[in-house]
């Protein structure tokens, strides 16, 4: 399976040196994603989901240390790829969309110049071809009067339009893999719904693989083929969306699902499910299960190395045979 994966990450770790020692921000993460597939990486602040995608793109902060057994894109070893090779891949074969469309566009450049830049940089054609491609993609992402938008600056566009411009920019070279880090978090729900539909349509049309980083399990349920739940730098549960939502095996996944109110379904006037406590510090590393201090089912052997169990396509890290419902 993993052999022909578009992106194959095995035992990825990211350490960030801080005053009190190394911060183990990503610990032993293995993920793979196939052509045309949507993988959602879900978790709360500080779980390492964004760093995992940045590590894949080679965009970690300079002090961060990345190690992995394997990090391969289309069979090519990214661990040994030189900066020039990474620059050639980024924006061409693999592209990224960030959360804040307000800050990830250059305020001093027109929309058109920013859209055309990756196309010209990667030598896909001349300016005329770049402009035609930019107009075509702006129309494709649902921006009216695309031709006249090219001369506009980011501040002239609303948040939803800016995020569409970001998506169009990522698609300029027709990437095989699109990494989207919380692409709709800053947007209103109706615009979020439009952007999610747009991403799903474009993915089908271009046959792209989509790695979507989000904190919202609602988004996961509506777009993901597979989901990886991260906690404290680790993937604690991974599997097909149906399997993970129908029978979550990790107590953290269960806790997270019980925290989300659903109109018309969650009983009103009763406390919502919560996860007591807070995320442990990742400075200096953690032995055993990182969730054990917050887990209602923790026992002595949780402090030792936690086994990875699997049930076909569904994998999780927990000592328990079966988590009581």
């Amino acid at each position: 399976m993993a052999g022909d994966a578009l992106l194959d990450i095995r035992h990825l770790a990211v350490r960030i040196p801080v005053a009190d020692g190394p911060l183990h921000a990503v610990r032993d993460v293995s993920l793979n994603i196939h052509r045309g597939e949507t993988l959602c990486v879900v978790g709360e602040s500080g779980c390492g989901k964004s760093l995992t995608s940045l590590a894949t793109m080679g965009l970690l902060p300079p002090t961060a240390v990345r190690t992995a057994e394997r990090l391969a894109f289309e069979g090519e070893d990214l661990l040994r790829a030189k900066p020039a090779r990474m620059r050639a891949l980024r924006g061409d074969r693999m592209a990224m969309i960030f959360q804040e469309p307000m800050t990830s566009l250059n305020p001093a450049w027109t929309i058109g110049e920013q859209l055309m830049e990756p196309f010209l940089y990667h030598g896909k054609g001349n300016r005329r071809a770049a402009e035609a491609r930019a107009v075509e993609l702006l129309e494709r992402v649902g921006i009216a009067a695309a031709g006249s938008r090219l001369a506009q600056y980011p501040h002239e566009l609303s948040g939803g339009l800016r995020q569409r411009v970001m998506i169009a920019m990522a698609l300029m070279c027709g990437p095989d893999l699109l990494l989207a880090d919380e692409p709709t978090t800053a947007l209103d729900v109706t615009i979020q719904a439009e952007i999610l539909r747009l991403l799903a349509d474009l993915q089908r049309e271009f046959g792209m693989a989509l790695l979507l980083v989000t904190h919202d399990l609602g988004i996961v349920a509506s777009v993901a083929d597979r989901v990886a739940v991260m906690y404290a730098g680790e993937v604690v549960e991974e599997g097909t969306t149906e399997a993970v939502f129908a029978a979550p095996r990790h107590p953290y996944t269960r806790g997270l699902l019980s925290c989300i109110p659903i109109p018309g379904e969650t009983p009103r006037g009763q406390p919502l499910g919560t996860i007591p406590g807070t995320v442990p510090s990742l400075v200096g590393g953690i032995e055993g299960c990182a969730f054990r201090d917050r887990c209602a089912f923790a026992r002595e052997d949780c402090a030792r190395t936690v086994p990875v169990k699997d049930d076909g396509p569904h994998r999780w890290r927990c000592v328990l045979e079966d988590v009581p419902a």
Partner: protein, 317 residues
Amino acid sequence: MTPILEIRGVTKRYSVRRGMFEPKRSLMAVAGVSATLPRGEVLGLVGESGCGKSTLAKMVLGLETPTEGEILVDGRPVASLGRLERARLVQPVFQDPYSSLNPRRTVAAIVGQPLDVHGEGTAPERRTRVAEMLALVGLAERHAAAYPNQLSGGQRQRVAIARALILRPSLVVCDEPTSALDVSVQAQILNLLAELQAKLGLSYLFISHNLAVVYLIATRVAVMYLGRLVEVGQAETVLTAPDHPYTQALLSAVPTPKPGRGLPGAPLKGSFPNPLDPPPGCPFHPRCPVAQDVCATTPPALESKQAGSTVACHFAG
């Protein structure tokens, strides 16, 4: 019994100029909004960015003055109240606990400041009240000496809640109180707000763009679009079987954590209108799936439709 909050035909206009040589234009942020919050209940206010919900909240807090209409808290017009008097009646909890707390003061100083300002009790009495309040919001004694940067987002929001409640106000305006928090922390804060409401007999004006959160905590819900209320009613009714096409669209756009339901709702036509140039007639008609000719000319009034709900739509239901 007088309702804790009465909003009577409130309009807020801002005068804006888009460029140096452009003429000034009038932007109607809130347009003729009336609503009532009975004592001990929670009125949820929902809508998208720019719909005027935060402007309305600022007017309830006395931070902005209505251009027309009046707001009564506990039967008294907000405009006639002095700053201290108003602060005893109504207090805010804001969205971002990272920017709403002074980073240079300890938790005890932040929570105790309203007591100092209002000259309540002696120093030892104030300390006791601060300690009681911290315990009430679920903070440990050791947190009293901490600075905001030593606390997590959830703990900071608890500090902000403690500060809002220390003067025992009757009304708390919660403006997106959980939007900056992780889901597991959001659940803790929602449970805390519900518990405090029951324990202290508080009333909340609860503003959020998250319909699921409002469904859980609010007794009544008011849906805003372009400065106007489009639907008002019991939370259970409005957020499960809405009558207004806008509320329906908003609700169907919320992704539910259940696979197999597909992508969230079919998108609305067009985009959010420019508030400087609102559409004539019903403000929602250019994007409405059921709009007809009359919608472009005649603005619908809020009318009773089903049990306790009022809806501003010519064709609702």
